[in-house]
């Protein structure tokens, strides 16, 4: 196996590009593909300030590293979700990454700053943990980005993530979700711009990038993700990819190029500035008096902390 660019021994094959790469040229490919996505979808321009949502996993740490390598000004924000040992270890990973490189990392601990954690919020609301978790992350990333004067929030969603979400939305023809599945969500009153610069890169490439760059990330999964539908969709798509390299890329980018517009009618009508009221507690635009995050705060206030369990078994050690 030889590098497509320099003919030196290759370390990785990328079947959808029908090419092999040595370490250096693979790293270059990853940076070039990220830059291409940033330009193609007009995510941000040099001089703009980016807030990277970092979880301690491969995608977000790699994204932070790549943006800095490309010369962008990017700081990190980590949210401690309180999911037992998993959160402890992922937080350590992020802090070590930032400290080793002298980077600016902002941190929020849900339990210390907001008086709840994801397992307790799930128990109180009697919904799956991912629902309170996603709500908390969205609200706090938005707020941090606006308060910190950032131009955009960047997340580590990669091609596999986006293809799997598209697959799930298509299976059920969730037209409202299909209409807004895009690598960039423009800013609107009260909400920052959101971008996904890794959409041109597969999950295996992001893990390989971390190995080759010596980025130590948390390989274990959030205990709540194990065996979920999203992972099942990814496995199904990888089974197709194995016999038909490039299928995931064609599926997702074909959707963006030729299909997403057809769902425009189903897009949620975002209220114009002035139409929505501000949350009476925190000020974010909302259609009710109190926003979903502040309602969550109200419901979790004073609740006894619980541990995450699946079928009665503790899973957050």
């Amino acid at each position: 196996m030889k590098c497509k660019v320099c003919r030196e021994p290759a370390v990785i094959d990328i079947r959808r590009h029908n090419a092999n790469f040595c370490g250096d040229h693979f790293l270059k490919l990853v940076r070039d593909q990220t830059q291409k996505a940033i330009d193609e979808f007009k995510m941000f321009a040099p001089g703009e300030r980016i807030l990277v949502a970092v979880s301690g996993g491969k995608d977000s740490l790699a994204l932070w590293d790549i943006l800095l390598e490309l010369g962008y000004e990017a700081n990190g924000l980590y949210i401690g979700l309180g999911i037992g040992g998993y959160s402890d270890r992922s937080g350590d990973q992020v802090r070590a990454f930032a400290a080793e490189r002298g980077l600016k990392l902002e941190q929020i601990e849900l339990r210390d700053q907001y008086g709840y954690d994801v397992p307790t919020a799930a128990a109180v609301t009697k919904r799956v943990p991912c629902s309170a978790c996603g709500l908390s992350k969205r609200h706090l990333f938005d707020k941090a980005a606006l308060q910190g004067g950032y131009d955009a929030v960047a997340t580590g969603h990669n091609l596999d993530d986006e293809a799997a979400v598209l697959f799930g939305n298509t299976l059920r023809w969730q037209t409202e979700y299909l209409a807004r599945q895009h690598p960039v969500l423009p800013a609107r009153p009260g909400f920052p711009r959101k971008v996904k610069p890794l959409v041109r890169l597969g999950e295996r490439e992001m893990a390989a990038y971390c190995v080759l760059r010596g980025i130590d990330y948390i390989v274990e999964e959030c205990p709540m993700a194990v065996g979920n539908k999203h992972i099942g969709y990814k496995e199904a798509l990888n089974a197709i990819e194995a016999t038909s390299p490039g299928a995931k890329q064609a599926f997702y980018f074909g959707f963006l190029a030729r299909a997403v517009e057809r769902f425009a009618d189903a897009a949620p009508a975002y209220a114009e500035a002035g139409d929505t009221a501000a949350c009476t507690r925190c000020g974010v635009p909302t259609t009710s008096e109190i926003c979903a995050f502040c309602r969550l705060l109200e419901r979790t206030a004073g609740a006894e902390p619980v541990h995450l369990t699946i079928k009665g078994k503790r899973v957050d050690a």
């Binding site: 370390v11 092999n20 979880s55 969205r138 190995v211 992972i231 194995a242």
Partner: protein, 66 residues
Amino acid sequence: MQVNLRNPNRTIIFEGPMSIVALLQKLDLNRESVLVIRGGTLVPGDALLTADDVVEIRPVISGGVA
């Protein structure tokens, strides 16, 4: 050779030299879903593993949706 698997962590010992393709087939793993790592770096897909190699097979699929 010693093969270390993750999530959950476990170790399997295989006899003799083996190609990456054969190893992944034996473990019933899709090449799109894993990386093979030896001594902190990637092992290319056409490499032959020897009897005294120690390799990690690292899953690359992660499940966070939000």
